[in-house]
Symmetry: C2
Subunit: 192 residues, 2 copies
């Protein structure tokens, strides 16, 4: 799977993927390889971390991946500068065209909406701040759902950071199995 | 607060602090400033991220902080190379001497144990892998507790990644208030 990092992504919303997939890669029944990419060679997160992605964006080949994950981020940290960039949107379109899994958390749903692939389809995004993010998603022709997580065929969207782990485990379930998810949840001490 | 990053730290166990403290800094009632530091100028995490800390380790002054947080990490990723370094251990000793809060997740408890400040005190750490991490903590004179989270005066320890958010919110509660924690949990969509 590919983890697509926009400028100003939220650390937590990326870390749910790196860690859930990582624990599964090292200790799971069915290893999932993951690689990070971004439009820039160094990304300043919403909060404290400065991160260097592994794969140059120009070298991403959709054929190499089964899924893409998109963490959300804060507007003030420059999230939409990258997330609304045509190259970012085109990559989302390519993953959708090939019916590959697209998983997002919080406002990670917005570039998916802007790319056009959610037109007439169901999705959700952050609901507070007077619902401004949900209105934006509606403006992209999305049928908004007042739910914590929405799965519309290959596309997963969710409301806020609190849904991050559920989205990451849902993605792991799709890529591997329930049995593998149960094992990883236990190893990470979510279950006894 | 200071976020102390060892080589091979787990992304998720650092991100719970960056995001919980970050959301509180921007949207909370009582802002908490946070800064990251590490022994090296670039850190490779356990999983995918390469991270550049903000503050040079040599410029850390304990007087500037009320608390320190230590995420765990995987041995194979080099966690103990940094976490057992004398400079790392000395910083922990200084924070304890000043009775400042020391919060850790998973094997983040081990350098605290090795520093000596937990001798004769109660703590916990990761319990699976045949209990090897708990045995190491016992070898540092720690009274091990079979609990998810243990608070012994100024020191917080916990079992695994799953406890990360609880440790971060506990730290936020100590540094601010229950009311502020409730607000941030709601904004991050953990509560309605």
């Amino acid at each position: 799977m590919l983890l697509l990092l926009a400028q100003g992504f939220e650390e937590y919303e990326a870390a749910v993927f790196t860690d859930v997939i990582g624990w599964s890669r090292v200790l799971g029944n069915e290893p999932v390889e993951m690689v990070t990419t971004a439009l820039k060679s160094e990304i300043k997160c919403t909060w404290n971390l400065k991160v260097r992605p592994e794969l140059d964006f120009d070298n991403v080949d959709v054929k190499d991946f089964d899924a893409i994950a998109i963490p959300g981020g804060f507007e003030d940290a420059g999230f939409y500068d990258d997330a609304y960039d045509e190259r970012f949107l085109n990559l989302i379109r390519e993953f959708d065209r090939e019916k590959k899994v697209i998983a997002s958390i919080c406002v990670g749903a917005l570039p998916i909406g802007k790319s056009g692939v959610l037109k007439g389809r169901k999705a959700t995004t952050y609901d507070l701040s007077n619902g401004v993010r949900r209105k934006q998603l509606v403006s992209f022709g999305v049928i908004i759902q007042d739910k914590q997580i929405v799965v519309d065929r290959n596309i997963i969207t969710s409301t806020g950071p609190a849904t991050g782990l559920d989205v990451a485990f849902k993605l792991l379930e799709i890529l591997t199995s329930n049995k593998n998810v149960d094992k990883i949840k236990k190893l990470m001490r979510f279950t006894i």
